[in-house]
Amino acid sequence: MVSVDGTDIPGSLIRVRHLNKQYRRGSETIDVLQGLNLDVGAGEFVAFMGPSGSGKTTLLNLLGGLDVPTSGSVTVDGDEITSMSARRLSSWRARHVGFIFQMYNLIPVLTAAQNVELPLLLTRLGAARRRQQVATALALVGLSDRAKHYPRQLSGGQEQRVAIARAIVADPTFLLCDEPTGDLDRKSGDEILDLLSALSRDHGKTVLIVTHDPRAAERADVVLHLDKGVLVHDPATEPVA
């Protein structure tokens, strides 16, 4: 269930109300998001599309608690993250959000397994349990045999799969993906999209993806367009609200 007109959807996982984000560039004020509303139910695969500079990444950052809005609220699973302190927000991110970036953003001096383990270092899990969860996550993305490889020893597609393993290893509430196929060839991009679809379909993960790629949008349950700072449904997809 996805809504963009501010209508409350009972039991929605993500609820965004009257979200505004302004940037200042010199003396000029740029309104990126203007009173944006959004409701997303658990387990949905939602794609955000729009031209460059339309505010897709800004929206994703606000949903993930990486940035703060000028006004409005973001509530996830009952927690209003826009009123949280920086420290509480860090802890919330560790428990609830898995991030996947266009440039993978792996730490080059850590192996694939150590990169995947990073979010678990903040938990109380012991070393053995952490190793077990890392192995499971790497197996899920099909990279068990690359655990000890460094990012420079992996292809782009493999690096992105390691990033996905890192995003899911702590079993977050939802995944935020910023152009996850933007730096990949078609074949690798399809593999990543297959993986994200499987995570949503088979594991019930809520996936929010920002993309320019129509093939990525095709995998989504719902495609939303950012237009003049608000979200609108793609006419080709069925709005459910």
């Binding site: 940035d67 080059p108 001096v109 979010p119 903040l122």
Partner: protein, 379 residues
């Protein structure tokens, strides 16, 4: 501990830079180790001076003598347990450059006043029984390869001619800072053979019952010989040793000045390294924050890295300095107690930690304040 691998991995990013920085810190702490060793060597007497001992010397100068008759009169002062005396012999072994101190001592009282010097009883007795006998500190004995029974000839520029002594024993210090470079001779033999200055000694050392009575005893001693041809100046052994060390200048000020310059330079080197390490890693710090590391957690990681870097370099430098000092006095006798103690090593490590914290502070605060969206934009 779970974050240690993450910190250690960062050292491998730019191995040359890490090696150079660790090397700089190691050199600085090596220098610190040598400086404090020299300082403690020069003030060794101060550090090991007995709190319950007073030194009585000629008021005009240490090189002027005091009459032997003062010994009994000093003994009569309340709180005085024992009085011994010593005189400078000033001999050379084979070559004037082979400097080491020789004291002509009162064998009847010496060990009662200086119990910290350990010498086997049979060797001591052999020394007492032989007027030409001598006991050497282990440092000097090892330096010249002497063993008990050797005949040691000393040229005596003060008294004239060559004096030969029989080495009857070797003493050890019971504490790390004890001076084992001195040779003990019989004062009676010196007094008997010297052509002039008979019946006088160099200085007295009084052992008192309680350090709290030091001032009272010192005042009583000096009052007893006031207005005599040989007025005295009595002070604690520590004050005496400090004054002696100051005769060659304010070494501590010199050491502190050089050390401060070295540490400041080190601060700049380590600070520049950490600043550039953090600058290169901004997107990664953004990733750490994204996955849930708190701002303070990132601050702690950068500080820990800086401190670890300084500790590795500091440990290496201090280790090398310790190894260097284990070889003993490199000056051939000028610094008999050439010893880098545990306390000074601990202080060096504390300095390294302080440098690490200070050098890492600005980059760490910068990393802490970094906004995630700004950091990720730099990918």
């Amino acid at each position: 501990m779970r974050f240690l691998p993450l910190i250690l991995r960062n050292f491998r990013r730019k191995k040359t830079r890490t090696i150079l920085t660790v090397g700089s810190i190691a050199v600085a702490l090596f220098l610190y180790g040598l400086l404090v060793t020299i300082d403690s060597a020069l003030s060794a007497g101060v550090d090991v001076a007995g709190a319950d001992r007073l030194v009585v010397r000629n008021r005009i100068s240490l090189i002027l003598p005091l009459p032997l008759s003062y010994q009994e009169r000093l003994r009569q002062i309340p709180h005085c347990i024992e009085v011994t005396h010593a005189s400078w012999f000033g001999g050379n072994y084979q070559d004037p450059r082979n400097f080491f101190p020789q004291f002509a001592i009162d064998t009847e009282t010496w060990r009662k006043v200086f119990p910290e010097f350990a010498v086997p009883d049979d060797q001591w007795q052999a020394f007492v029984d032989d007027r030409e006998g001598a006991i050497s500190g282990r440092g000097t004995a090892e330096r010249f390869g002497w063993k008990v029974g050797d005949r040691i000839p000393l040229q005596a520029p003060i008294w004239g001619g060559t004096w030969e002594f029989n080495l009857r024993g070797i003493y050890d210090g019971t504490r790390p800072g004890d001076d084992t470079s001195v040779m003990w001779l019989h004062w009676k033999y010196l007094d008997e053979r010297r052509p002039w200055g008979k019946g006088v000694i160099g200085w007295y050392t009084i052992r008192i019952d309680d350090p709290a009575n030091a001032v009272e005893v010192a005042e009583a001693a000096d009052a007893r010989f006031a207005n005599s041809p040989f007025e005295t100046s009595t002070e604690t052994e520590k004050a005496f040793a400090t004054g002696f060390a100051r005769q060659i200048g304010n070494i501590r000020l010199l050491v502190v000045s050089i050390g401060a310059v070295v540490m400041f330079t080190l601060l700049l080197v380590t600070g520049a390294t950490m600043a550039s390490a953090v600058r290169e890693r901004v997107p990664e710090l953004g990733v750490l924050k994204t996955v849930g590391f708190a701002d303070t957690g990132v601050l702690a990681l950068v500080l820990a890295e800086s401190v670890l870097l300084a500790l590795v370099g500091g440990g290496l430098g201090l280790g090398l300095a310790k190894l260097f000092t284990l070889r003993g006095d490199p000056t051939g006798g000028m610094l008999p107690v050439f010893f880098l103690g545990g306390q000074r090593i601990a202080l060096g490590l504390a300095l390294a930690v302080a440098v690490g914290l200070l050098a890492g502070a600005a980059p760490a605060v910068g990393a802490m304040r970094l906004r995630i969206v700004d950091a990720l934009r730099r990918v």
